[in-house]
Subunit: 246 residues, 2 copies
């Protein structure tokens, strides 16, 4: 029954970063309910909104020095809903309804892959090499599925034609999350460092390029990132092997 000052202080939570996390959780939840009401474009857009809010919460916490163990746990549970459950269920509702058990299997591999990825990330947070992620991050896996659905909706592709491709994409992204492939975390990039002027032009062109065809570009960017993991890992392994030979 002892209520000391420390336990009182511990009971409070930081408002700002947790607001972003709740926003991300809501966006993920809204994606699922939208797909249930057959509003797939809204569902897909909601997953991207969840990605943006999820990208902000950690940054806001670091900037305002309000990181907390509670925030990290809440963020991880929110990620589970927005990037583990939502993309799998949206995909299931959109393309897998005629596939029975196969669709259930593919969607569950993606969700369970997301859960295993998040649990592993949470337990390796202190020991891991900061420059790389082990396995495809769950927001990137979610973006690939959401981007794919978005492209198909835009071009009105026939679901019956692409459904097996959708199954493959859902299973492969689920497995890439739990793979041992190394993905760049982009944490070496120093945002405060001066860069040549040409970089500003390149960034401008990149944004204009994405904006012209956001669905296709977002999909391709994240697909490229998914492919980069195996490439980086194999190149590094090859280099180590050839160094050992010499």
């Amino acid at each position: 029954m002892a209520t000391n000052t420390q336990s009182i202080r511990r009971r409070g939570i930081y408002l700002l970063p947790n607001l972003f996390t709740t926003g991300a959780l809501f966006a993920g939840f809204y994606a699922i309910t939208s797909a249930m009401n057959h509003h797939y474009e809204t569902a897909v857009a909601s997953i991207f909104v969840a990605m943006i809010l999820d990208g902000l919460d950690g940054r806001v916490a670091r900037l305002t020095n309000t990181q907390s163990e509670f925030g990290a746990q809440y963020d991880s549970l929110s990620d589970m809903v927005s990037f583990g459950v939502a993309p799998a269920l949206v995909m299931y509702l959109w393309a897998f309804s005629s596939l029975g058990r196969l669709g259930l299997f593919a969607a569950f591999v993606h969700t369970a892959g997301g859960a295993l990825r998040l649990a592993r990330f949470n337990t390796q947070i202190e020991t891991a090499d900061k420059r790389y992620f082990q396995g495809l991050p769950s927001p990137a896996a979610a973006a690939i599925l959401a981007g794919f659905i978005w492209i198909c909706l835009e071009h009105q592709y026939d679901i019956d034609v692409i459904k097996y491709f959708a199954i493959a994409l859902t299973v492969i992204t689920g497995l890439l999350m739990v793979s041992n492939f190394r993905y760049s975390s982009f944490k070496q990039i120093d945002l405060k460092k001066r860069v040549p002027f040409i970089v500003a032009i390149a960034i401008m062109l990149a944004i204009a390029f994405v904006m012209a065809q956001p669905q296709t570009m977002l999909f391709l960017v994240f697909l490229g990132y998914a492919v980069s993991g195996p490439l980086i890992t194999l190149t590094q392994r090859k280099r180590i092997l050839s160094e050992r030979k010499n």
Copy 2:
């Protein structure tokens, strides 16, 4: 690049408890997809299966001495799906479809309540009083919603009549999870201690009673547990106040 023995050992996970956790996660996921296909009885039964498997994983880990940080994280993410997302979505699909924003609001309060409850539990795991849980545990909240749906299906109650009651139940269980009410964890009960023979008879009667009307009894048991929190807390507060006066 240094790969020492410890990091290799850390990479492995314990099979047995994580099998139960994956089973619980699958049951939760299956509950959602069953509800999407309008198989509400299967959905509700799956949530109870998830509860049983979730109750076993921690016990199996303690018995076989295979508790791990990874297992705890994975368990918590699985709980989020099975007890935070699944009951809210099953309820949403079953009763809230005609209610628009109100249904979305109620379902989200339950899911977000589950996320906040799990994040708080994970961060207070070392400091908390083991005899009590702070806030209604998420499996109990899930059981109340699942039990309620099960009773209504069994007796074929008209959804239009009970939908506002369903809304209230969903919101209240969501809020009870994040409340400060204290719930007995039943951890003082020593399962290895000898008890009078009458206890064996009482347990037998209790099981027979539940089996005769499982839906109603499960619902009532968990509803009683949900009500016990405010009662215990108020009684304890009253006692402390009256002790201070004397």
